[in-house]
Structures are given as structure tokens and as C-alpha cells.
Symmetry: C5
Subunit: 322 residues, 5 copies
Amino acid sequence: MLTLCVHHKDKGFTCQDDLSKISDCLADPSNTVWLDALDPSAEEMSLLAEEFGFHPLAIEDYFTPHPRPKIDEFPGYYFIVVHSVSFAPESDEIAPEEFDLFIGRNYIVTLHKSPVPLLERIAETWQRDPRLVTDGAGMLLYDILDGLVDSYFPILDEMEDRLDEIEDEIFAQTAPKSAERIFRLKSALLVFRRIATPVRDVLNTLLRRDQPLLSEHAITYLRDVYDHSLRVADSIDTYRDILTGAMDAYLSVISNQLNSVMKTLTVAATVLISMQVISGIYGMNFKYMPELGWRYGYLGVLGFMAAVALGLLYFFKRIKWL
Amino acid sequence: MLTLCVHHKDKGFTCQDDLSKISDCLADPSNTVWLDALDPSAEEMSLLAEEFGFHPLAIEDYFTPHPRPKIDEFPGYYFIVVHSVSFAPESDEIAPEEFDLFIGRNYIVTLHKSPVPLLERIAETWQRDPRLVTDGAGMLLYDILDGLVDSYFPILDEMEDRLDEIEDEIFAQTAPKSAERIFRLKSALLVFRRIATPVRDVLNTLLRRDQPLLSEHAITYLRDVYDHSLRVADSIDTYRDILTGAMDAYLSVISNQLNSVMKTLTVAATVLISMQVISGIYGMNFKYMPELGWRYGYLGVLGFMAAVALGLLYFFKRIKWL
Amino acid sequence: MLTLCVHHKDKGFTCQDDLSKISDCLADPSNTVWLDALDPSAEEMSLLAEEFGFHPLAIEDYFTPHPRPKIDEFPGYYFIVVHSVSFAPESDEIAPEEFDLFIGRNYIVTLHKSPVPLLERIAETWQRDPRLVTDGAGMLLYDILDGLVDSYFPILDEMEDRLDEIEDEIFAQTAPKSAERIFRLKSALLVFRRIATPVRDVLNTLLRRDQPLLSEHAITYLRDVYDHSLRVADSIDTYRDILTGAMDAYLSVISNQLNSVMKTLTVAATVLISMQVISGIYGMNFKYMPELGWRYGYLGVLGFMAAVALGLLYFFKRIKWL
Amino acid sequence: MLTLCVHHKDKGFTCQDDLSKISDCLADPSNTVWLDALDPSAEEMSLLAEEFGFHPLAIEDYFTPHPRPKIDEFPGYYFIVVHSVSFAPESDEIAPEEFDLFIGRNYIVTLHKSPVPLLERIAETWQRDPRLVTDGAGMLLYDILDGLVDSYFPILDEMEDRLDEIEDEIFAQTAPKSAERIFRLKSALLVFRRIATPVRDVLNTLLRRDQPLLSEHAITYLRDVYDHSLRVADSIDTYRDILTGAMDAYLSVISNQLNSVMKTLTVAATVLISMQVISGIYGMNFKYMPELGWRYGYLGVLGFMAAVALGLLYFFKRIKWL
Amino acid sequence: MLTLCVHHKDKGFTCQDDLSKISDCLADPSNTVWLDALDPSAEEMSLLAEEFGFHPLAIEDYFTPHPRPKIDEFPGYYFIVVHSVSFAPESDEIAPEEFDLFIGRNYIVTLHKSPVPLLERIAETWQRDPRLVTDGAGMLLYDILDGLVDSYFPILDEMEDRLDEIEDEIFAQTAPKSAERIFRLKSALLVFRRIATPVRDVLNTLLRRDQPLLSEHAITYLRDVYDHSLRVADSIDTYRDILTGAMDAYLSVISNQLNSVMKTLTVAATVLISMQVISGIYGMNFKYMPELGWRYGYLGVLGFMAAVALGLLYFFKRIKWL
């Protein structure tokens, strides 16, 4: 489904489904055109290609899934692939949702397979307050990329919460599933990194090349988004390093636990078998075992067993095995 | 075996085995020549060298196996080495099959030791639809490299499936062979990376140098292949990182298992030996052991043994060892 | 709360709360203006924006928390984010406190949510010895950045002390909490690195761009701060490498301990059960067991048991298990 | 010992020990001079320095051992250090043998402490087929460097064989020495890398600088050697990564083995001690133990013990511990 | 204490304590001045600052300890910080000793807190053979830096010896302290790297900038020192990689040892307890146990026990647990 919204300098935003007038609107440089294509059919795509003059490769690119953001420069416009992301904290899974952009001097075309709440929210602001849409398509692009990168921060926060949980778990030694949780969170970070880090390069391309598409004003704002994308990349890397450290620490903690289990076993086995050895001796059937006839032999042996047991326990206590 | 196909502007593709007219065909810039050499003999190679004017080093290079792709620039043509790849999921083995290309302004020469299905498939398309072959040899090169890089994606998908299997295995703790599987898949990824990543550099060379061989049109298309090769390299790196994490996690899982085995052993040994200690005591042969004469001594001791055993089990349950 | 201090060439520093004369002060290039904003309200921020002509994005940036330092270049001024840091050695926690700076040719504006002792200390020096404030705002900036980076060194020293403690602990094998301590210190280093390392880039930007804001004199001094920031980054990286090595070593130490625990268990079990086997034999109830009737059978068996035990102990001693 | 060989355009190669005519030979640019110095004395070195005009530092460099290749540029000539290598597969040891080269427009000087078979082999070819020596010293240098780098490939192949052996060993779990073998092969790779990788940089220097020493023809050939050196470096890195993975896998394999040993111990101990507990009960000396008087008590208890043992074995089988 | 030595073209080196004539000496460009400051007081430092015109920051830098080498460029001179190093092989500790240099066109100033044997040795050579001091201060600087970097090689050799010792230890499985030794040597390498590697950058700065201070002659010699510093950095990195591998190998070795300890325990426990089970059976007090009355029952049971024990031992031998 294609939706066409045109921003006239004076009239503000007007949206409609009639696409026949795209070229007229584009012809007037004081107009800013926003065309949103929700799951466009091949026919609608070729209409777009024709009206805007898009390269067949870019059109083809829309139909191929892209696991990482990218920017392609074409004469007079850019083709940009980015991803909105949602994170399911219980399963530590990252669910990326790709959407594509064409950005020209006075138009922006957004393409997506399913509705993207982020885009809807941004479009609403534009309609509510058309004064935001100044300076051609550059500020529209800023709004979208800024909203996108800012939507990454709550996910980073959730991930940091998970990281804190995992840390507590590891050292509290209560959860035998920590290895799995560390691994899942790390894999999620890797997927997230693949989606979030190249946004930095997309912005870099927009900022660096001496291109005439974006106004100086828009570039100043995009530089701010670039800063935010640096922070995202930076946080992801820090979290990964912490998780790697956590896995190492976890292995040490398990080994330590094993050590203490083995110490317990050693203590139990040594104490109990020592007692058995004594009782075993007095279970022998020799004819001449004077102790067997003693009046307090039995009690004495019980006492001896207790003494040996306590002595061993004391010994193990002293060498810190208990 | 050499096969010569010539594309005339109007006549479309015609293939033949008669090689005597190569130079005539090449002389007309509106022709596009495709020569396919299947396991060429040394004589056939020197024929090629002569007709096309290839450098002896490039000819020699065909006879040396190359474990990694490369591109050599010669005046008027490029020599390119790439690999088609097949993946055997049961053994996690990557089987690369090298093939070489000469690409000039209006000719492309493909060299391979054994039939390459990928090439055959591409050649078929050319013959079916000669309109695809426009713009000299550049678009032929695009078809081949695009087909090559696209053939890497199904392998990546298979590898991802394997990765998912391994993950499930590790945490389900059913498969003692996980270390081997992780290692084999990782080694396969390293081999694949050696074959797939330098394709990026080959394309970079084709795109970056200000060379007059490829038309602007072909370069736009090759840039798209370059994007795809970036995605391949990117996915390989992500999978490797995940596999490294998986190996670490696996080690933790094994250690955890060991911990729980040892706990079981400790519990069993402690409970059973405690019971033995008691029975051992009443197996002693002392004359004066009043309990031995008691009417319910035996039952009492059985009860006591059971109580000790249950008490210990309860204790171990409470400290979460059971 | 905004505090305005103006340094007149002859009159030295005078501070006041009356902000109405900011623009007059700024107009005279021989004045150096320092404005300190402690937790400024939105109104105060827009006053600043107006008087100094700051860009709305920079103003907005003040209200966003920044986990890493950065520098933004605007026409005629810089916006800088840095962090003062405190370290709690008992919990190994790094507590960063962000503060922001605007630096123009003859003014410096400091913004912070809570009082920053470092800034107060520096401002005191300025008021005590106004001759320090020469050469416009450059030297003020030097004082702040130099004080900031120098405040990182005591933290590095404390961290090194902690590192030494941990090392001693690991090899003395007394502390089962080493894994946690290594992990916490490493995480603290990662956080510290995120705060301290980009200061290097901030200084690099101030030094490299051919900007007309800072005098040659100030740049010479800032180059010195840059050197210090290199040392900080360098030390952090060295400590991280040592901690990684420490974690590996710790794992080896635990495994070694486990080895020796298991050896002890093996020795104890083997010796004690061997004694049991002997006593068990003479506990059997066969009718015809000649040894049972021997006069010194009992003593002989006790002696045999002792001999077996000592023999085994001697054996284990020789193979270094004891 | 110095050996002087001169290649006259028409006369081919003539070798002699008379060094008095070096300068005459060098003076004629159509000659190509090859001087081989086998363990030259200090006097011979100063003779060289004088005749060829070598810098004292380069002369001094010959007497210092160099663990890594290098190239020094002097006006009119290069000084190159490279290493031929032999590999002892049984001990996994790399034995490098340094040799040095001076290369000028029409001369090449080779210096080595002991005879280098590689050089001897190359020199033989020159003498057999003088037509190879065209184009001044550049092609001589090509022959030497090409021979050197190609001599690295058999070593790589041997290393790959060793790697395959180690892999098989690890997962067949037969060899307890795998850790040592992995470590030794990895150390050998590190030494090899130190020798083989910088050859790449030596060639890069020869290729990149706009130097007038080497003809275009020689440079085309050296570029081919450069490609080979890239393959060497690339293979070494791949092998290292695989070895690192192998060590990780090996640790997992050992841990897995430990797990299965411990499970066996647990099963054995539990089954056997359970049987003991039962026999221990009927070994007690209570007066009133009705079972003791039963006709089939003994058989019944034996049966009960067998049943308990089998039951436990079945249980452990079901939980996959056997 | 300040010592002033002046090298006159014809008179050679003359040293004295009278500092009043520094400026006169400096004024004549054919003189080369060397001033050595052993633990200079603040007064002496300000004298230096005045006579040579040093920047206050450089003077201040002398009083700050620097853990890593650096070079600062000032108009007309450089300020260089380097470290001489001693290594205590028994404790694996690196003890760096900082010393600072000012180097101008015709003077060199050396500053150090305590006597530096290296400097004394170099100064002696100068006085013995003044012809060495040609070409202004450049060659003095070369002598010092060359001596410094060359003093790193014996330390590298000692470290390599230690590394070999550790390797032998690990695989001979005799030393339980290997983890500590690996860790200490690795930490020493990290400290050494921090001191030795930046010397490379110091030399790079001296070589690269188009500075008029050093003659072409001196630069050729410094390039040689640069090569040496590359070798130092390269060796340190190789040793670190080997040590990392050694730690991994050590962990595998310990785990292997644990495996064999556990196998021994399992064998011992299984064999001994099996024997106990048999003797336990005949220790039961059933009335009707026919075997007990057999004439050779006792011997038969002893034989049976021996047979079971031998059978188990044979079994464990076959599965390679013994």
C-alpha cells in the first residue's frame, strides 16, 4: 500500500492515496514529499522506479532481506537499509525488522514489509507539527534516524539489567543455567551489533562525502545522531567484554564449587571409613583378642571411634577444608 | 577442451569449437567473446596466451592451485581466481573448487579443471536470453561474480542451521561429541572465510582503480555484488564469534555436569558408608554389648540406620545437592 | 544556579550572580568570562543559549546523560563532555560524574548537575592567583583538563594496589572469592576505560584541527595533557591484560588445588579400604580358618594392616602424591 | 669465501675467485655481477664495502643475527635479510637459516654463514641456462625470492599434516600428549610467522617505492612472489586459529573424559557399597534376628543383593551414566 | 649534580663543573655540549631552563615519573623520556629506571635521578675516543639510543631462557608453581613492553618529521636503531603469544593429570570394595550357609577374591586406565 504525503511550504502536510501527481509535486523544489510504501507489490515498486527514477538494483534490493544496514549512493539520491529492533528479555532474543529508505533532495520514500511503529510515531509528529518539516528531506531523515538510534537505548538498558542479573547469579552460585544465559545474551549482543554498528557507517557516509543533497543545517543534526550511534556501538562492545569476563569468572566459580564438593567428599569418606576400619578390627573372629573380653571394651571402642572422627574433623577444619 | 562463444550485436550467441577465428572476433569491439577452457592442456594454454596476449605468469598461475581468491591487473585485462564451494553438513566439510577468469574489454575467458555447475548454469542463461549480454564483458563478469557470491548464502544458511543444532545440543546436555562438532564447524568456517572474504578485495580492486575496462553500468552492478560479499564476510565473522562463545559455554556446561556427578557421588557415599558404620559397630564381637541382647535391638538399629540415611538425604536436599 | 566570574586584564577575577551583563563582558576580547552553571534549569539554559549563541543541540545534549566523553565543534566554540571519577576500593566500583564545558575564544562555561569538587578546587586557584588566567579561555581549559586527567592517576594507583592484592591472594590460595574480585575489578576497568580513553580523542581534536580558538601557548600546554591521557589509556590496557592473565592463572591454581584434593582422597581411600579388606577377611565365619586360632594371629593381622598402610603411604609419597 | 660470477651479455656466466676486477665488471652496465660470500671474514667484508661502496651499518648488520627479515634502502642499492627454513616434523621445530642480500642495479651480493642449499640450487640454474639472467639483477632477485617463498609451501604442507594428525588424536582420545603437541606446533608457527610474514613487507617495499633499480619486467615477476608471500602469511594465520580452536576443543574433550570417569566411579561405588550395606546388616551380632535362622535366608539375601545391584545398574543405564 | 663536557672540534672532550660558560659554548656551533644532570635540584633545573631556553613544561616533566617513553617536540630541541631496564630472573621482575634527554642541534642534556651505568659507559667511550663525536649532537643521541635498545636484548634472552624452563616444567609435570611463573613472566613482559615498544615511536618521530636538527648521517644511523627497536617489540609479542599458549597447555596438562588421578582412584576403589563385598558376604551370621562349613571354603574365597581383583585389574588395563 502506498501513501503519499506532500508538505507545501504554506499548507502543511496533506496525505492522500492518489499517486498520479507525484512528479508534479516533486517538480516544485519547495515541496517535501514523503511516500510510505507498506508491503508494496512488484507493480507498485515499478511505479516508484518510474516516477522517482530509481535504479533497478535498488528496487531489487528491497526484495532481498538484509541482515545489516547499508547505504548506497546513486546520482541524486541515497538508498538506505536500517533495522528497528525489539528485545525479548525472557528469551534474550533480538528481533530485527528491516525497513528501507530512499532519500532525495526533496523527497523521502520509506519501504517496509510490515507496519513499523517507530515510523508511524514519527509520521504522526510531522502531521501534528508541520513546522518541524523544514529544510527539505534532510530533517525528515534526521527525525527517522534519530528516532531509530534512540530506540536502541532502552534495549541496551534492558541488556544491562540482564547482565547485572547474570553477575549476581554467578557469584551467588544458585543458578546452574548461567552458562546458557551468558551465551544467549552474548549471541543477542552479536546480532544487535550487526544491526546497530553499521548505522555508524551509514551516518558517516551521509556526513563525509561532499554531497549536495543535505543542507548544512540537517548535517549538524545528523552529526548528533552519529554521536549517539557511537555510544550504542561503544556500549555493545563494553557489554561484550564484560560478558566474556563473566564467562571466565563463571568457569572459575564452578571449578571452585567442584573443589569444595570434593573436599566435602574427602572429609566424609576419610572420617567414616576410619570409623569402619576400627569397627572392622573388632569384628574379626580371632580367638585371642583380649579387648573383646574387657568390661568396657565396647564403650571404649565407641569412644575411640568418636575421638578419631572428631580428631579428623578438627584436622580438616584447621586446613580449611570444612 | 576449449569452447568459444561469440556474441554478435544482432545475431546473439553462437558457440563453436573452431578456435581459429578468435583474433578476428576480438578485433570487432562490438563482439563479446566468451571462451571456456575445461581442463586445458599446456598446448591449449599457450594458444590462449598467444591469441589473447596473456602474460606467462598468469598462464603459470592457472596451473598452481590457489587456496585464496586474488586479482592480478595486467595491461588491458585482469586475471581473477575465485572458488565455488560446496558444504557437506554431515561431516562439516567445505569443498572449494577453484576456477580462474581472464576479463578484457570485450572478452571473458573461464578456466577450470573440472566442470563447474555454477558456470554452466550461467552460460545457459546467456544463450537463452542474449539480451542480457550487453555492455561488453563487464556484465558477463557481473553475472559470474553475482552467481558466485549468491551461491555462498545457502551455505551460510546451512551453517547457521548447524550452529543452532549445536547450541541445542550443548544445553540439552545430550551429546558428548559437541566439542568435536564445534571444532569442525569452526575449522570449516575458517576455510570458508579464506575463500569468501578475499572476494571482497577482488571486487574492491575492480571498483576502485580508475580502470577503463568496465563500463559505468557494469560497475554499478558490481557494487551490488560487493555489498553481498560484505554480508558474507560479516556473517562468517558473527558465526565464528558465536562458535567461540559456544565452546566456552560448553566447557562450563561440562564442568557443571561434573559438579553434579560429584555431588551425587558424595551423597551416595556419605549415606551408604554411614549406614555401614552403624552395622559395622554391631558386627563387633565384644562380649559386653548390651544392645545385642535387646529384644528389639535389631529392629531398632535398622530403624536408626534408616533415620540416619533419611536425615542425610534431607540435609543434602536442603543444601541443593540433590 | 549560575555564577558569572569575569577576569579583567587589570582587575583580576570578580564573581557575581548578576547575569545581565554577560554580553557586555564578552564583547571586550580582553576579558575572560567563566560561567559556572550548577544544575541549571531549562530557563537558565535558554538564557545561556541566547547570550552565548549556543546551538539547540548542544543545549539538549546537556540534558542527556553521556557515558563517554566527546567534543562537538560548532562555529566559534566547542562543546565538551568529560567525567570526574571516584573509585570505591572495597566494592571495586567506579562512580563517574559527568560535567560539560562550552569553550569559546574568551569564555568558558561549565555545566554540572551536582557540585564537582575538582572544578571548585580549580576555580579557587584562579581567584587566588589571577595571573594564571592569561591568554584567554585556553589556559582555563588547560587547568580543567589537566586537573581532570591528573585526578585519574590516584585511581590507577588504587587499582594497581588492588591488582597486587589479588595476585597475592591467587597464589597464596587463601581466598575463594578471587574470581569475583578479578571480575569486578575488570568490569571497573572497562567502565573507567570508557570514561578515560576518549579524553585522548577530545584532546586530539583540540590539538589537530587548524582552529583559531586556542593560542599556540595554550596548545603547547594541552599537548602535555594529551601525553598524560595517553599514559592513562596505556595503564588501563596494561592492567586489563594483567587481569586477563590473572583469571587464567587463577583457573590453573584452582585446578591444581583440585588435583591435590583428589590425590589426598585417593590416598586416604586406598589406605583405609585396604585395611578394611584385611579385617573383612578375618571377619568371615568360615569354620576352617586356621589363622583365627593362632596365638598371635590378632596381633599379626594388626601388624600386617599397619604394614600395608605404611607401604601404601610410602608408595604415594614416592610418586609425590603426598 | 668469496665467489664472483659475471654474466656478460654474450658470453653467459663465468665464475672465478679473482676479485680484483669487480669494479671493472660493475662499470659496464650490460654486465650482471653475482658475488657470493660464504662466511666472509671481516677483511673480506671491508673489501666488499670498498668495492661496492656499502654503508658501514649494512656491513655491521651482516655480523648481527636477525630473527626477522628486513629491507634497508640505501642510495643505489638495497640490503635485504631473509631466512631459509627447515622443519623437523618429529620435534615440531623450525630451524631458520639467515642469509643477506645486497641488490644494486646490475649486481647482487649474497652473504651467508653456512652453505644455503636453496642458493646453490638457484645458482646452478643460472649457470645452466644463462638466458634466464636478463634484465639486470632484478631477475636474479626474483629467482632467489621466488625460490625462497616457494620453499615455505612444503613446510606449510607438513604443518597441515601434523595439524590433521593432532585433530584425529584429540577426538580419538588416545594420546595424552596432545597438549604438548598443540603447544609445540603453535610455537613453531609463531617462529615461522616471524620469519615468513615480513617477507611480505620486504616485497612491498621493493614494489611500492618509485625506485629506479628494478625494471618494470622484474617488478611484474616480483608481484607474483608477493602474492605467494600473502598466501604463506594467510595459511599461517589460518593454522594458528585452527590450533587455538584445537586446544579449546582438547580441554573440552579431557573434561568430558573426566566426567565419564567420575560417572563410572560413582556407579561402581554406589552399587558395591549398597551390597556391602546389606551384607553388613546380616553380619551384626544381635540375638534376635529372625532372618538369620530362616532356611533360605542366605540365598534370599544373596538374591536381594543381586537385585539391588541390578536395579541400580538399570537406573544408571537409564540416566545414561553407563 | 651537573657535569658539563664540551667537545671542541680540535681539542676533544673536556669536562668541568663550572657551568657559567654554557651559553658561550653553545654559541659556537662547532662545539658539541653534553651536560649530565644527576638528581638535579629545582635550582639547577631552573638554571638549565634559563641557559638552554627550555620550556617550563619540559622542566616540570622531569619531576613527574613516566611509566612509558615519549618524545616532545619543542622549537629547536626535543625532550625525550626513555628507560634503562634490569631484570631479576629469580623473581621475574622488571625494574625500569627512567632517564630524560634534551637534544638540540649541538647539545645533549641527560637527566636522571640515580646514576645510570649505561650512560656512564657511553660517556667513557666518548672521552676515550673523541673522534666518535662528529656531526653535532645527533651521533651522541645515536650512541645513547643504540646502547639503550641493545641493552634490551640480553633481557629478552634471559626471558627466553625462562620461557624454555617453564615449557619443560609444564610438560614434565613436576612443578605445581607453573601457573604463577607463567603469570609473573607474562606480567613482566607487559611491563617491559610498555617501556620498550614506545621507543619505536620515539625513533619514528625523530626519523619522520622533516626536522632540521639531525644530520642525514645521524638519521641513517638512527634508522638502524629503529630496526633494532622493531626486533625488540616483535620478540616481546612473540613471547607473549607463546606464554598465552603455555598457560592454555598447562591447564590441559593439569586436567589430564586430574583425569589420571581419578582413574587411579576409580580402579583402587572398585577393586578393593569388590573384595570387601565378598568378605562381607561370608561375614554374615546366617545359620544355613553351606560354604562356611566347607573344608577349603576359606581358601576358595581368598582365591575368588584374588581372581576378582586380578580380573578387574586386567579389565582396567585393557581400557587403558592403568
